[in-house]
Structures are given as C-alpha cells and as structure tokens.
Amino acid sequence: MMCLSGWLARLWHGLRALPRAALAVVLVLGALAAVPAYAVQPDEVLDDPALEERARDISAGLRCVVCRNESIDESNATLARDLRLMVRERLVAGDSDAEVVSFIVDRYGEYVLLRPTLTGSNIALWVAPFLILLAGGGLALVYIRRRAASPAPTEAALSAEEQARLKDLMGD
C-alpha cells in the first residue's frame, strides 16, 4: 500500500509538473501573448507550394508545448506561430525534414514529437500492437481449431422446463 501511494505521488507530481515546465519555457522566451492568433496565418505561408506542404506536414507532427493537446499547425498560441515560422525558416534555408525536426527537438525536447521515435523504450509502444495481434491471433486459432475438433455436446445441460422457457424467450 505504501508502495502504491508513493508511486501515485510520483505520478501526480511528475504530471502536474509538466504544464508548469512548459509554461516556464514560455515565460523565459517571453512569447506568451494575451491575444490569440489564428492557426496558420496568410503571412506565414511560403511562396513555394512544395516547401509549404512539407512545412505543414512537419508542423502537424509537432506539439504545441503550451497548449492542451494540439499540434503547432492547429494551435492559436503565439509560441506555435513562432515554431511554425522557425520550421519554415529552416526549410527555406535548405534543411531536410529530418533536420528541421531535430532542430526543434534539440530546443524543446522529445516532448514536442507527436509521433514517438522508434528508439529505446518507445520500441515497446510500436511493437506492442503487433505482439498483441500475434498472441491474440494465436489464441483465436487454437480456440477455433479446438471447437472444430471437439465432439458434439450433450444437450442435457438444460432441464426440460428450462428448455421450454428458453424456447419461449427466443420467441420461436
């Protein structure tokens, strides 16, 4: 019990610290403005449509660290706008998509990636669905095989009265 409560305390502490940490980043940057802007603004859009499309794709995968749970592409926050501009700046400068992303991650941490990287502990996240599918599929196969092989059941499980009742219920 003690162990559990300690574990919970740590959980809460860690989680509640997150928004505050993010907020601290913003305050330091002085980027928090009172008036919300409006997602992607016309003046942000790049002239080169191919480059702009890459910018949009990249922004859709980056989390706005001051928002609840939005990508910088969807967010109205000023910080999100700054990040969108930063992404576009790097793209215009000739960076590859991966370089742009790692540029942002270097500054804001792994937390901004909406698509977790396939590294370290995250491998478990990516592999788990397939492992579960394999395990579940295996069990299902065994079950189906066994059902197909088992002899016909005896019908004595229900009494005559119950049978009549069942028939009644089934409305047949």
């Binding site: 016309p42 749970n69 197909a148 409305g171």
Partner: protein
C-alpha cells in the same frame, strides 16, 4: 430549500443503494424470495431520488440561484435558457450527478423490464448494479458535492465556457453518459452470471439489448462530439486522437466486440468466457474514460477537472470493480464450458476475427493514450503520442476489419463454404475496385491509401446490401423484393449498421485524402478561386451584439465557377466578455457531396482580413454514417425477438423470409 431537499434526496439515494447492494445478494445466496424481491422497489426508489436531486440542481441553474457555488462558477443571468439547463452538466459535479441519474435509470429499467429473468439472476444483477451506484454516490457526496452553498452569494455568475454553449455539445454528454453507463448493465450481468456460475443462450439474449442500447447511445454521443468539434473549433477537423476522445472510442470498440460475441453466445453457446470478459472490460474502459477525463492526468483539449484527489478516488473505484470482477472471472470462468461446435470456416470464425481485430484496435488506442504516463513513470522520459501514431497504428486494423466484414457476415453458422460467400460478393468486389480505381484516376498525386479506403468503404456498403439481398432466398425478383420487407428487423439492422460503417469510413477517407485548403489575406470585393468555387469577402461587420457575446462577422459569398451564387456565409469571431474568451464560428455551407467551410481571421495591417477556406468533400457522410449506424442499432433493438420482455408479450408469429441462421 429545494436545494437542501435535493441534497437530502441524494443522501437518501446513497443509503437505498447500499441497502440494494446487500439485501438482494444475500437473498439470492440463501434462496430467500422476499429478500430478492426487495431489489425491484429499491431500484425504482433509487432512481426517483436521484431524479429529484437532479431536478433540484436544474431548478437552481434555471432560477440562477447564485448562493450555490456550482451555479456561480458555471452560469450567468444573461445566458439563454437552453444553456442554463445544459450548464447543469457542463461541469464536473453536475455531470457526475447526471452520471448517477443515468446509472440508476438503467438499474430501474432492468427492474421494470426484466420480468422474465430468473429471480436469482435478477436480484444479483440489481445488487451488482447498485454496488456501482454506491461507489459513485459516495464519490459525489464526499468529493464533488454539487449542492454546496456560498456564505456570501455574488450578484452574477462567471458564465459557462462559451465553447460549450452550443446545441451539439449541449446534448453530447448525456448521450455519451447513456453509453458509458449503459455498459454498466453488461458488467452487472457478467458479474451476476459469474456469481451464479452459469452462462447460457438466454443470458446472451438478455445482455444483448442492454449492450446494443449502450453502444447506440455511445455512437450518437461520439458522433455529436465529433460534429461539434468540426464546426465549432474552427479548423475543420473531426477527430483529434485526444485522450478524452480516445476515452470514448475505447468503450465503443469493446462494446462493438461484445455486441458480436454475445450473438455467438446466444445462437451457438460458444465464446462464453470471452464474452463475460468483454462485458467486464467494456465497463472497465468506461471507468478508465471517466478517470482520464476527470483526473486531468493526461493533458487534453477537453480538460475538465484537474483534481488529483478525485482522480485517485476514481482510480480506486476502477481498481475495485475491475480487480473484483477479474478475480471472480479467474475463479469461475472455468465453469462455463462451451457447447457449440463449428468448423474453421463459419460465421463463428468470422466473429472471432471481428473480436480479435476490435480488441487489438482497442488495445492500440489504449496503449497510445496511456504511453506518455508509462514512459514518464518507468523511464522518466517525457514523450507525446499524437495523431501520427494513431493514424499509423490504428488504420491497418480498420482496413483489416473492413476487408473481413462483408465475408464474415455472409457466412452461415456452424459450417460454411467460403467459395459460396465469395461468389455472391463478386459484384460488390467489382464495384469496390472500380470506384477505388476511379478515385485513384481522378485525384492523382494523393496518397495511395485514399483510393484503397474508398474501395473498402464501397466494399462495406455493397457487401452489406448483398448480405441483405441474399437473405431473400431464390426465385423471381418480385418475390424476393416482397420477402425483403418481411425480413426480421435484426437482419435490416445488421445491414444498415454495417453500411453505416462503410459510409462513415468513406467520409473520413474523402475528407482526409481530398480536401482543398486555402489560406490568404482576402480584400473586400475581390473574388478568388478555391477548388471549383469562387469565394468573395463582401464585408466585415464589427461589434455585432449577440445575447451574451460580441462578434466580428464576415460576409463571404460562395459562388459556382460560372458565377452563380450559392450562399453568403457568415463566419464569426466572438468574444464572450464574462468568460473573457474568444471563439471562432465557422461559416459552413453543407452539401451532399462537399462542405464549403470558411473561417475569419485577424484584420491585416495593410488592409484585408485573413480568411481560411476549405472545400471538404463528403464531410457530412462521416456523421451521416454515424446516424445510420445508430439507426441500424435501433432497428435491431426493435426486433421483437430481442425485446427485453420478449417472453412477456407473445406476438403472433410473423411470416418471415429465409431465417438468419
């Protein structure tokens, strides 16, 4: 005074619930009929008390009784009456009261309509249901009391979050709760069956209508929420893979699996222990959803109440009910021997595949949702899991389900020939491939997934229709059409619901794959082209006064390419002064094949306004399909064979087509 009565009724309901949790259970154990029978009036009383309590709170909101803390925090005298009422559940405490009201309503319904249940099973079901109620009554009374008074009432309230002042969202929570809480019935039936140590075909028949009803409400609730997000949040998305959305998707997926596995229990007496497990897990996911929404443990756009104390309490409820039920399951599941024998190719196998894919896709959503927690806790690594992960990991399972569904639905029970089902489906297949190729040819340069998605949705709809048609047997066309109308409603329900899945899928694929977007500074009186339409910002009115907001309203003309005017849209930016919150109201022209969706942005320094325009193909089909799915559920539910009181009302045998089996 009414407030105090409401509070008192809530306390009384809690005590009745405690009584109903214990006495009938003991009665069932000892075979004491009187003790068992007490569950019925107790369930009714509990519901009436909860209803009174809820009415008292509603009264306080409607009359703007600002001596109540909750009313002050969530209401305002200027608010339209509708939103004063919906404000009752637009907050943590009030929504929890709605939750228990629905919980007791389901319990009472089981008492009213469960006339044909064996007395011991009924007593146990009602007792288990009441134990859930006890936990939530205690939760309300001890941590989230909505009836707390203020010593010095203010003159006016702080207003409801403006985003919630919308008809779509006003009715989204009640439906969602009907779904979440409806699954508690499946849970109660499962636990009662485990205590009885018996699961048979009749049990499958009893548990299905409740699950179907819960699933139906959940479908409507999720649909409403998604529709609201689409038109209210102003960026035209319909699903964000937000933890709170996932919280509603998981029970929905599990309920869909349970719905199908309960058919196998009912028709074939197989998959019994799996079905029991699903029934327990379905409610478990409802509780997990409640935990996610109310604890604030995961950062979400829908953050509701960020209170660790409440979170720990819900976690406790979750652990108790899941732990207890799963322990019981581990002890008793062995008793339930399967009886139905089926060959490898059969409807049963199809439904096993259905359950496998639905369960694994639920797991994908689950692990993606809680991964940030796990990662933080065990590796001290702060990560985010967002839409890119879910789209990648979830889509394959949906596609797999879509491929398998029409085939599985066509297979007969026990033993089937796969060739026969496939032959019947050839026209559907040809149509699907043809339309997929068409989509691929028309929209070049898009992702390859979209044409596949189009083909699969056509496959689903055409497959569902083929299935219904094949039920009419052989013979001339006229005779088959005649039989079509006489098919049992459950057959129609199955077809309609499956077609609804296809239609929703089509809408999702079309919207995500083929939408056209335009962001620009629009000058008044200068038309421009977006997709096949001409858009023109006519003018912008500032300081337009609404009942409790101030609006900046654009007038945007939408015309066909030839200049014929379709409509003038009025996208708005509103400020709700009391809440101090700006919102965006999109201007949307809904159409059968596309929506034109316009939002208004900031005025620009050198004249003009930022305007964002989307052409969203087949957007309405997403919610249209949801409604059709729900309609299918309703049709099934209204089938006389599935009525809860089927045994009580004996109807004349109807002339039928070829039976479903």
């Amino acid at each position: 005074m009414i407030t105090e009565l409401g509070h008192f009724a809530l306390i009384l309901a809690f005590m009745v619930a405690v009584f109903q949790m214990i006495v009938p259970l003991v009665g069932a154990h000892r075979g004491n009929a009187a003790w068992m029978a007490v569950a019925e009036p107790a369930a009714t009383t509990q519901f009436l008390l909860a209803a009174f309590s809820f009415a008292a709170l509603t009264y306080a909101f409607v009359t703007s009784d600002f001596s109540l803390n909750l009313v002050v925090a969530n209401s305002h005298t200027d608010k339209p009456l509708l939103y004063k009422i919906t404000g009752v559940w637009g907050n943590h405490e009030g929504s929890l009261l709605l939750w228990v009201l629905i919980l007791t309503l389901f319990g009472a319904s089981a008492a009213w309509f469960g006339g044909n249940l064996p007395p011991t099973l009924k007593a146990r079901v009602l007792a288990v249901q009441s134990s859930v109620a006890v936990a939530f009554f205690a939760f309300i009374l001890f941590t989230s009391n909505p009836f707390l008074r203020l010593e010095f009432p203010p003159f006016d309230g702080q207003d409801l979050n403006p985003l919630l002042q919308d008809p779509g969202l006003a009715f989204h929570p009640p439906f969602l709760y009907l779904g979440y809480v409806g699954l508690s019935m499946a849970f109660s039936f499962a636990v009662a069956a485990l205590i009885e140590g018996r699961v048979d075909a009749a049990w499958g028949r009893w548990v299905r209508p409740w699950t179907l009803a819960a699933w139906l409400f959940l479908t409507i609730g999720i649909g409403l929420g998604s529709w609201w997000a689409y038109y209210e949040l102003g960026w035209g998305g319909f699903w964000f893979w937000d933890p709170v959305e996932n919280a509603s998707l998981m029970p929905w997926l599990i309920a869909a699996a349970l719905l199908h596995s309960a058919i196998v229990v009912e028709k074939r007496e197989a998959m019994k222990s799996w079905t029991i497990l699903l029934a327990i897990l379905a409610f478990g996911f409802s509780l997990i959803g409640t935990f996610i929404v109310r604890s604030g443990v995961l950062t979400s756009v829908h953050a509701f109440a960020n209170d660790p104390e409440r979170g720990v309490y819900i976690l406790g409820i979750l652990c108790f009910f899941m732990g207890g039920a799963l322990l019981l399951f581990a002890l008793r599941a062995g008793v339930m021997e399967a009886k139905g024998v089926f060959s490898t190719v059969s409807r049963e196998t199809g439904l096993v595949v259905n359950n496998l894919l639905l369960a694994v896709s639920t797991f994908v959503v689950f692990i993606g949702t809680i991964w940030p927690l796990i990662s933080e806790m065990f590796w001290d690594r702060t990560v985010s899991v967002g839409p890119p992960f879910f789209n990648m990991a979830f889509t394959p399972f949906v596609f797999g389900l879509a491929v398998a569904l029409p085939i599985g639905a066509m297979l007969p029970w026990k033993r089937a020939k796969i060739g026969r089902a496939l032959t019947a489906l050839v026209p559907a297949l040809v149509l699907a491939v043809a339309l997929g190729l068409l989509a691929w040819a028309v929209y070049t340069g898009h992702s390859a997934l979209s044409p596949i998605g189009v083909a699969l949705s056509v496959w689903l709809v055409a497959g569902a229709l083929t299935d219904l048609w094949s039920r009419t047997g052989r013979g001339d066309i006229a005779g088959r059409f005649g039989r079509l109308w006489r098919l049992p409603r459950a057959d129609w329900g199955k077809t309609v619901a499956h077609a609804g899945v296809g239609i929703t899928m089509f809408g999702v694929v079309a919207l995500t794959g083929y939408q056209v977007e335009d962001i620009r500074v629009a000058q008044e009186g200068q038309p421009y082209r977006v997709g096949a339409y001409e858009i023109e910002l006519l003018r912008v009115d500032e300081n337009v006064r609404g009942p409790n907001y101030i609006s900046t309203m654009g007038h945007v003309a939408v015309r066909e390419a030839d200049g014929r005017e379709i409509t003038v849209l009025r996208p708005e930016r509103r400020i709700y002064p009391v809440a101090g919150m700006p919102t965006t109201e999109a201007g949307i022209n809904n159409g059968f094949t596309r929506d034109v969706y316009v939002t208004l942005g900031d005025p620009q320094d050198n004249g003009g306004w930022a305007v964002r325009t989307w052409i969203k193909p087949f957007a309405n089909w997403i919610w249209g399909g949801t409604i059709i799915m729900a309609l299918g559920g309703l049709l099934s539910l209204s089938d006389r064979r599935y009525r809860v009181a089927a045994g009580a009302a004996k109807a004349q045998p109807e002339p039928r087509g070829v039976p479903a089996e």
